[in-house]
Every structure is written in structure tokens, then in C-alpha cells.
């Protein structure tokens, strides 16, 4: 390429403007386009996260399964057998593992996105990238781990002879979408806020612990219903998007429960509403992220 070619190529290019993001409009679409253009890099970042996590450990990826399997074991033995929560819940192990798998996805998305910006400070301070890629890469690697757990769950259902093969399996998709949308929305917000206030990452751990018990994962929804009554309290409890997604996921994966336990009415509609509200949150939090990201390089 001659110098003249380079100059004429440059002359034809439009200018990219960088200015204070408080004055920018219509940026949400622009950043979606920008991230889509850099999807290859996003893929490489996800692979980097996954590869580096268990590099140099003899068992590697097996470790990412040890935690949920241990949790399963504890909940199954202590809560299921000792405390008797498994009464009225057939295939209690499948029930618990289904709940833990979908909740684990939410938990991992939120906790790893929250620390993603601070963890990649070396890059953010030195190179311009659309900063959304870091929380999104965390979402990607969380989805990968979710995939592995899902395979184990399916193998377990196969072994127990209750492989989910009916129309209810379709609940899988709205449940997954709701979790991904809500997880990404809060992941984006918290990753940006964490830059300014490092307390957030510790706060998130505590909140995720509370949310685990605020959803019917190791106990059944009707047990909560029995205590909360069927008034407004139950509605608040049920319409927690994570609860809805957990219920939807259990309905898809846990065949033995179809006739054994009660589900809230209009579960699919509730999931749809949760999805739409989640999208609204995602858009709002993306705007917040875009506003906060202008000062990342100097705050890190």
C-alpha cells in the first residue's frame, strides 16, 4: 500500500468521536453494534477466562463441578433426609440439582461480572475496548459451566429413569432467558458500581446467599405457600424472577414432579412478564454502565 493509498483510504473514513458520555444519545444501539463487531474477541476472552481458571490444576474443569455436587450432597442428606424436606418431593436429588444448576448460573453471572471490570483493570487502563465485553465474557463463561452441569443433570435423570422428554421441557427456554437477562442486567450495573465502591463485591456475595434461600431450591414451593398463605406475600415471593425461573426450570427437568407438587398459576405468563421487565432493566442498566464507564480508566 502506498502512502497515497493509505491517505485516500483514511480520507474516506468517517471520524469516530469521543466525548463526555453524559451528552450522548442513542448509544445503546451503537454499543450493541460495536460488541457484535468484536464478537471474535469476546469469544477469545471467554476462552481465556475458562482456560486460565483451572490452568495448572491436575483435575482442571472437574473442580467447577465439585462445588455444586458438594452442595447437592449436603442439601440432599441434611435438608432432605435429616430435616425431612424431601417428603412429598419425589426424586429429591434431581429436584435439588435442577434448582442448584439454574441458580448457580445466575449466581456465577452476577458474581463474576461484578469483579470483571476491576479484574481487567490492566486492559481497561491501557487499551480502548467497548467495556461491556468484560461482564459479557463473564456471562459467556458462566453459560459454559452451566452447560456442563446441565449435561450432568441430564445424565442423572437418565440413570434414574426420569429423562425429561415431554412438552414441559419447553419451560427450559423461558427459564434460561429470564436468568440470563436478569443476571446480565445486574452484572452490568454491579460491575460498573464496583469500580467506584469496592464494597459491592462483598455485598453481592451476601445477597446471592440470601437469594439462594429465597427461591424454592431445597424446599418446595408449596411448603413456602403453606407458611406465607395465598395473599400478597406469596405473590411477592413467587414473582421474584429467580423464583419463577427456578420453578420453570424444575418443571422442565424434573418429570416426577408434574403431578406430585403444585406450581403457581400462569407460570409461563409470569415468566414472560419477568423477561420483559428484565429487558427494561437491562436497557436502563446498560445506560448507567455507559455513563459510568467514562471514568473507569482513572478510577481503577
Amino acid at each position: 500500500m502506498t502512502v497515497q493509498d493509505r491517505f485516500s483510504a483514511l480520507e474516506a473514513l468517517p471520524f469516530e468521536v469521543s466525548e463526555n458520555s453524559k451528552g450522548r444519545r442513542g448509544a445503546a444501539l451503537a454499543s450493541v453494534v460495536e460488541i457484535f463487531q468484536r464478537r471474535e474477541m469476546l469469544g477469545l476472552l471467554v476462552r481465556r477466562d475458562l482456560k486460565s481458571r483451572y490452568k495448572d490444576s491436575a483435575l482442571g474443569f472437574v473442580w467447577s463441578l465439585v462445588r455444586p455436587l458438594t452442595q447437592l450432597f449436603i442439601y440432599y442428606v441434611v435438608i432432605g433426609k435429616f430435616l425431612g424436606a424431601q417428603r412429598g418431593i419425589p426424586d429429591f436429588a434431581i429436584y435439588v440439582f435442577a434448582g442448584l444448576t439454574i441458580y448457580g448460573l445466575f449466581s456465577e453471572i452476577v458474581s463474576s461480572s461484578t469483579s470483571s471490570i476491576v479484574g481487567n483493570s490492566g486492559l481497561i487502563k491501557k487499551i480502548y475496548l467497548p467495556r461491556e465485553v468484560f461482564p459479557l465474557a463473564s456471562v459467556g463463561s458462566a453459560l459454559f459451566n452451566f452447560g456442563i452441569q446441565l449435561i450432568i443433570l441430564l445424565v442423572a435423570t437418565l440413570l434414574l429413569g426420569s429423562f425429561p422428554l415431554d412438552i414441559e421441557l419447553l419451560y427450559f427456554f423461558p427459564a434460561l432467558l429470564v436468568i440470563v437477562v436478569w443476571g446480565t442486567a445486574f452484572g452490568l450495573l454491579l460491575s460498573a458500581v464496583n469500580v467506584y465502591l469496592r464494597d459491592v463485591q462483598y455485598l453481592v456475595e451476601v445477597l446471592l446467599l440470601i437469594l439462594l434461600w429465597a427461591s424454592p431450591i431445597v424446599y418446595a414451593w408449596q411448603q413456602a405457600k403453606a407458611i406465607l398463605g395465598s395473599g400478597i406475600l406469596l405473590q411477592i415471593y413467587t414473582d421474584n424472577p429467580i423464583t419463577l425461573a427456578v420453578l420453570g426450570f424444575q418443571r422442565a427437568m424434573w418429570v416426577k414432579g408434574h403431578d406430585a407438587v403444585a406450581y403457581p398459576d400462569f407460570l409461563l405468563l409470569r415468566l414472560a412478564i419477568a423477561f420483559v421487565v428484565g429487558i427494561v432493566f437491562l436497557l436502563v442498566f446498560q445506560r448507567v454502565f455507559a455513563r459510568l464507564q467514562g471514568n473507569f480508566a482513572q478510577e481503577l
Binding site: 497515497q4 482456560k51 486492559l123
Partner: protein, 400 residues
């Protein structure tokens, strides 16, 4: 050949806010109006406007904290301006820190692909250029080793190799040329010269003023966030040197630490000029230099001599002599005394020079030193650089 604008900086200002409270508790305690007391703001850039044309190499110079690195980061889009806009076009590669984005646990090969993607190359483009990158870095079979086992030189070479193979139209460089061994630095400079010939635009932040004069077509001098000089590199460097000298003198005057009590005999002051010229005028090569030194002694000092040393702006000694070397026998020093060194036919290269004056006893013990007692400038010389002056000629003996 007309060259288009690559970067347009329109009245850019950048404010930094420094908070003293960084945890939730402190933030809550100092919430609201009280919180204002817990933050300090300062303007790192105070309204910079300039345009950079394609194919030029621009040096950004200024003392520490003058805002040059901030300006480079604003141009690179890494930080947003508080006020104003920056427009830029073409593919950008920022070498603010070599190997930013290298992950220690990944192999060299994996890092090359990751880093190239971060700098905007697609996978197929990286695959095409991979042999070139490997060859340029010269790390051989280590490419499949995790980079945490690399020596720092290998790390830097690989990172630089990736950055220069991304085909940037605009290259931002911040002091990274000072890392690596000499061979690597030369390679960097060669690459930069090739880039210049290929019409790429380079913006360089450096403290090496020699490099600015040698490499740049244009230099921008920043002082406290505003452009103080924008034009030919030699002029910018000269302005910068004067600037630094003013700061040094001002700092010395403002210093609140009480000076140590002067010894009985001490150097009071010194002034430099050409023998026929005034103090502060530039010293032309070939003129005679006069260094007038004022000495004071409350009690008589019988055994003494006076020493002169001239340093260049990098602190290297370029000249030194003493009254003893000149074979002068001095009567005891008492009260005020003025002595003069006259250096005939001095031929210093362009730049700023500092004179240090010492009062010593005859065995060479320092009784009192006055470091950087005074300074002088030698005007720019188009035909050569360096600390000595000589008129160059060039003869082509076997021209066809």
C-alpha cells in the same frame, strides 16, 4: 500530496476528581455537602485544541504531570474528555504498556491471538500474519510456553511484535521504547521509521528530548494542561528546557527547608556569558566563554582552589577544570572575592548546559559546592546533533 486529518482535538479539557473516602462507610459518613470536602479536583487538561495530519510524527513533551499522558489517553479513547471532543479515524494501536492484555497463564500463541483480537484484528488476519509476528519477536519454540515463564525481554518483544503487525494508521506510544535491551530499542526505532515512510501517523510521549528532535516532524509542549508551544521539535525542546530551568529556580526559591549554614568559605554566585556578550544570551560555537564566580569567606581560608564543571541537560559531565590544573597560586581567601574562568573557542553542541562551581582545598576536599549555579543555551544547529560542535562535510568519492 494532500494529507487528511487523522485526529482533531477540539478544546478538550479533563477534570480528575480525587476522593479520599473509598469505602461505603466513609462515603455514608461524609455524604452530601460534607462529602465535597473529601474530594479534590484538578484539571489535567485545560482546553487543548489541535489537528494532526496523516503521516506526521508528533512528539508530546512536558514535565511530569503536565498532562501529556492524559492527552494521549484521551486521543486513544481510553478516558473521556470532561469538555470538548476528540475525533479520530483509521485503525488505532496504543502502545501505552507493552503486553497489556497478556494473560500469564496462557501460552504465547494464545496470547498473540487474544491480543491481536483486542487490537482489532480478525482471526484469519492474525493467522496470516502469525509467521511474521513470530519471526519479528524471535522467541522460537517458546511460543507454546505460558508467558509467565518468559523473560521480560521475550515478553516485551512478543507484545511489540503483535502491536506493530496490526497495521495501524495511528500509533500511540507512551514511553514504552525505554524498555528492552539496546538491540530491541533499535528495532523499535527502525519499525517506527518504516511506519513513517508508509505514511502512518505516530504520536509519541517521551522524556527523551533527543528522540523528539531526531524522530518527530512536530512537537507539542504541554505545561499544566495547556499547549505552550506547537511547532518544530527543536523549538519545542528549547522552550521546554527553559521551562524546566525556570521551575528549578522557582522551586529552589520556594523551598521551605532551611538551608544548611554556609561554611566559612563558600561560593556565593556565578554568571556565564560570552566574553563580548550579555548574561543569558545564547553561546555561539567558537565564542569565548566567561564564567564569573563570586566567593565569600568570613574567616580566612589559606589553602583553596576553585573548580568548574559543565554538565549537559542529562547530567553528564562534558567539561571540567580547576584553578589548580591551570597552575594558579592563590592568596588566602578572606571577604568577597571575584574570580573568572575564561574558556577559549568553546564548541558545544546545541542544548542547555549547567555549570557547577566548587570551592576545594588543595587535596581536593570539597569545602562548598554550588550545583547548577548557572546555565547557558547553545542555539540549534541544523547540520548536526550531540554535545560537541563541528562543521560537517560530506564527500562522495566514488560517485558514478
Amino acid at each position: 500530496m494532500t494529507s487528511p486529518d487523522v485526529v482533531r482535538i477540539n478544546d478538550v479539557a479533563k477534570r480528575f476528581v480525587v476522593r479520599k473516602d473509598n469505602s461505603l462507610k466513609e462515603r455514608l459518613v461524609t455524604f452530601g455537602r460534607l462529602g465535597r470536602n473529601h474530594r479534590e479536583e484538578f484539571w489535567a487538561l485545560g482546553g487543548v485544541s489541535t489537528t494532526i495530519k496523516a503521516g506526521t510524527t508528533v512528539g508530546l513533551i512536558g514535565h511530569n504531570g503536565s498532562g501529556k499522558s492524559t492527552l494521549l489517553k484521551v486521543i486513544g479513547g481510553i478516558i473521556e474528555p470532561t469538555i470538548g471532543t476528540v475525533e479520530r479515524r483509521g485503525r488505532l494501536a496504543a502502545l501505552l504498556e507493552l503486553g497489556a492484555g497478556f494473560h500469564p497463564d496462557l501460552t504465547g500463541r494464545e496470547n498473540v491471538f487474544l491480543n491481536a483480537a483486542i487490537l482489532g484484528l480478525s482471526r484469519t488476519e492474525t493467522e496470516e500474519r502469525f509467521p511474521e509476528i513470530l519471526d519479528y519477536a524471535g522467541i522460537g519454540d517458546f511460543i507454546d510456553t505460558q508467558v509467565k515463564f518468559y523473560s521480560s525481554g521475550m515478553y516485551v518483544r512478543l507484545a511489540f511484535a503483535v502491536a506493530v503487525h496490526t497495521d495501524p494508521d495511528l500509533l500511540l506510544v507512551d514511553e514504552v521504547l525505554s524498555v528492552g535491551d539496546e538491540a530491541f530499542q533499535r528495532k523499535c526505532l527502525d519499525t517506527i521509521r518504516t511506519f513513517q515512510q508508509e505514511g502512518r501517523t505516530i504520536i509519541l510521549v517521551t522524556h527523551s528530548l533527543g528522540l523528539v528532535v531526531e524522530l518527530c516532524d512536530r512537537a507539542v509542549l504541554l505545561n499544566r494542561g495547556v499547549v505552550e508551544f506547537d511547532g518544530d521539535p527543536a523549538g519545542a525542546v528549547a522552550a521546554f528546557r527553559d521551562n524546566l530551568e525556570e521551575r528549578r529556580v522557582a522551586q529552589e526559591a520556594a523551598s521551605t527547608i532551611p538551608k544548611k549554614a554556609l561554611p566559612e568559605g563558600h561560593v556565593a554566585s556565578a554568571a556565564i556569558s560570552a566574553v563580548n556578550g550579555g548574561v543569558g544570551e545564547p553561546i555561539e560555537p567558537g565564542s569565548d566563554l566567561s564564567v564569573r564566580v563570586r566567593l565569600e569567606a568570613e574567616l580566612p581560608v589559606t589553602d583553596w582552589m576553585c573548580a568548574l564543571q559543565i554538565d549537559n541537560s542529562m547530567g553528564q559531565i562534558v567539561y571540567g577544570t580547576t584553578s589548580k590544573r591551570l597552575g594558579v597560586h592563590l592568596t588566602p581567601l578572606h571577604g568577597d572575592r571575584e574570580v573568572e574562568f575564561i574558556l577559549r573557542d568553546v564548541r558545544f553542541g546545541p542544548g542547555k548546559y549547567f555549570a557547577n562551581i566548587s570551592l576545594m582545598d588543595s587535596s581536593g576536599r570539597h569545602l562548598h559546592d554550588l550545583p547548577q549555579a548557572t546555565s547557558f543555551n547553545v542555539p540549534d544547529y541544523k547540520l548536526a546533533v550531540g554535545t560537541i560542535h563541528a562543521e560537517p562535510e560530506f564527500v562522495d568519492h566514488t560517485a558514478p
